[in-house]
């Protein structure tokens, strides 16, 4: 059965083209996804991300539980409101999902996981939580709106009470605060500054409309995908899954092998690392015409790989992609695009950060 967020009618009234995304009826675009992309890079745009799953974890042993559940180190979170990006692994070191954890107090952490993986994530978290007496509560009563872009924070500030505004203006990146009934986190999935706002469903339509009035452009999942790929951010299901370790997905930076911490998947991860990781994720830029797309074959001197996420980058005006290729690939590669082998440049990512190209011009 298709699910709808509380903003569904609002999207339709705005003329959105709707698509099924992980069982949810979501806006793909409101006309032009390229214009929506530029609005986020140059000004401010917003996304309904209420389909994502918010899970509250409560109990005195919650931190201890998270030390065990996730591959990143929860003890990096020392101050209330701080957030951490991490993978949640199975025993083989494969990625069950990627998620953000917020530390609120020692007996209360909040986790945001992907929509398409909701059922297996909930089952896994609940199964692991039992031994720690942690209470797992899905917050289906909450909506979430991401407001992103160089002017996003300023636009949000105009809608806040003086007290909340003062708190929120001081937020560092990857931190959250509460006020006016909103949970406001300075996080995002676009490579721009901005907020992800978690709020009661009953307040979502009114906040959305106030943001439009403040000059924020509605943006759909199409723009969200091109923005996150330019920003060098992984998409679960496309760039990694349960058969892929973080080593092979460009996510080594999220693995904390701090001494003495036993977390699920650690042994497998260490073993894989000692054996040598056979495949790695790289960034690609196509200088010629054409678009790199998921599933295309990548031909290298070390053997074949494949395109994971691939798209047209509106900011760069050319196609970019993530690919998984045999380790040790140096120099340029070719991609089989509709039967033609096209030379493609290997590039570091993020491709775009804070509105600016990060790749060398050629």
């Amino acid at each position: 059965m298709t699910q709808c967020t509380v903003l569904n009618a609002t999207h339709r009234a705005l003329g959105a083209k709707m698509v099924d995304f992980g069982g949810w009826d979501m806006p793909l675009n409101y006309g032009s996804q390229i214009e929506e992309h530029h609005a986020v890079r140059r000004d401010a745009g917003m996304f309904d991300v209420s389909h994502m799953t918010v899970v509250d974890l409560r109990g005195p042993r919650t931190r201890e539980f998270l030390r065990y559940l996730i591959a990143n180190d929860i003890d990096k979170l020392k101050r209330s409101g701080k957030a951490l990006y991490t993978c949640m692994l199975n025993e083989h070191g494969g990625v069950i999902d990627d998620l953000i954890v917020y530390f609120l107090d020692e007996a209360f952490f909040r986790v945001v996981v992907n929509a398409a993986t909701r059922d297996k994530d909930m089952a896994w978290i609940e199964k692991q939580a039992a031994a720690f007496d942690v209470k797992v509560t899905e917050r289906a009563d909450l909506a979430m709106i991401a407001v992103q872009g160089p002017n996003a924070r300023g636009n949000v500030h105009t809608l806040l009470s003086a007290a909340t505004r003062e708190k929120v203006e001081k937020l560092g990146k990857f931190s959250a605060a509460e006020g006016d009934g909103l949970f406001i986190a300075r996080t995002g999935y676009t490579g721009e500054d901005g907020y992800e706002i978690i709020l009661p469903q009953s307040k979502a339509v009114s906040l959305w409309n106030s943001l439009i009035a403040a000059g924020v452009a509605p943006a759909g999942l199409g723009a969200r995908d091109t923005l996150r790929l330019e920003a060098g951010m992984n998409l679960y299901g496309q760039d990694m899954d349960e058969t892929i370790t973080p080593w092979e997905a460009g996510l080594a930076w999220t693995i904390a092998l701090n001494e003495g911490r036993d977390f699920i998947g650690r042994n497998a991860l260490e073993r894989r690392h000692a054996e040598g990781v056979a495949r790695v994720m790289i960034g690609l830029v196509l200088e010629d015409k054409g678009v790199l797309r998921h599933g295309q074959r990548v031909v290298t001197a070390h053997g074949d790989g494949e395109i994971l996420s691939g798209t047209f980058s509106p900011t760069l005006g050319k196609s970019i992609a993530f690919a998984r290729v045999p380790a040790g690939v140096v120099g340029d590669v070719s991609v089989d695009i509709r039967g033609k082998l096209v030379p493609v440049r290997v590039a570091k990512y993020p491709f775009v950060r804070d509105g600016k190209s990060q790749i060398d011009a050629t």
């Binding site: 083209k17 032009s32 996804q33 390229i34 199409g222 015409k289 054409g290 678009v291 047209f312």
Partner: protein, 131 residues
């Protein structure tokens, strides 16, 4: 959905043709097709002088979402191509039946091949069933 001009004929695969006064035939893709594809980012044009064969791929339109062949509605020799699409492929999104034309052919078998094409009403009915 914008009005379909009455002087066009269509392939089921959403290409349109217009027979010009001088007997040449202009080819493009329908407004419905551009709306399904989303923002166009590249157009691969045939070369002037190419012989295109009805039913075969004659150009490629590529959007943020997908690459799609443009099938030749009629056979003939390409006499001009819309070079402006190289810089502004989005012209097809904005004006599929006008400035967004793709190429012109001198048809070699028009009388017979045009019998296979749909008139605007039949095409409108087809895309209605699609939705």
């Amino acid at each position: 959905m914008i009005e379909i001009p009455g002087d066009l004929k269509f392939l089921k695969s959403h290409e349109w043709v217009r027979v010009e006064d001088d007997g040449s035939v202009t080819v493009g893709i329908s407004d419905h097709a551009q709306s399904l594809l989303g923002d166009l980012v590249y157009v691969e044009l045939p070369a002037v002088g190419d012989e295109v064969q009805a039913g075969n791929a004659s150009a490629v339109v590529e959007s943020v979402k997908a690459a799609s062949d443009v099938y030749a509605p009629v056979s003939g020799k390409v006499t001009s191509v819309n070079e402006a699409l190289n810089d502004k492929p989005e012209t097809i999104n904005e004006d599929a039946y006008g400035e967004g034309w793709i190429y012109v052919v001198k048809p070699s078998n028009l009388a017979e091949e045009s019998e296979e094409l749909l008139d605007p009403d039949a095409y409108a009915e087809l895309i209605e069933e699609d939705e």
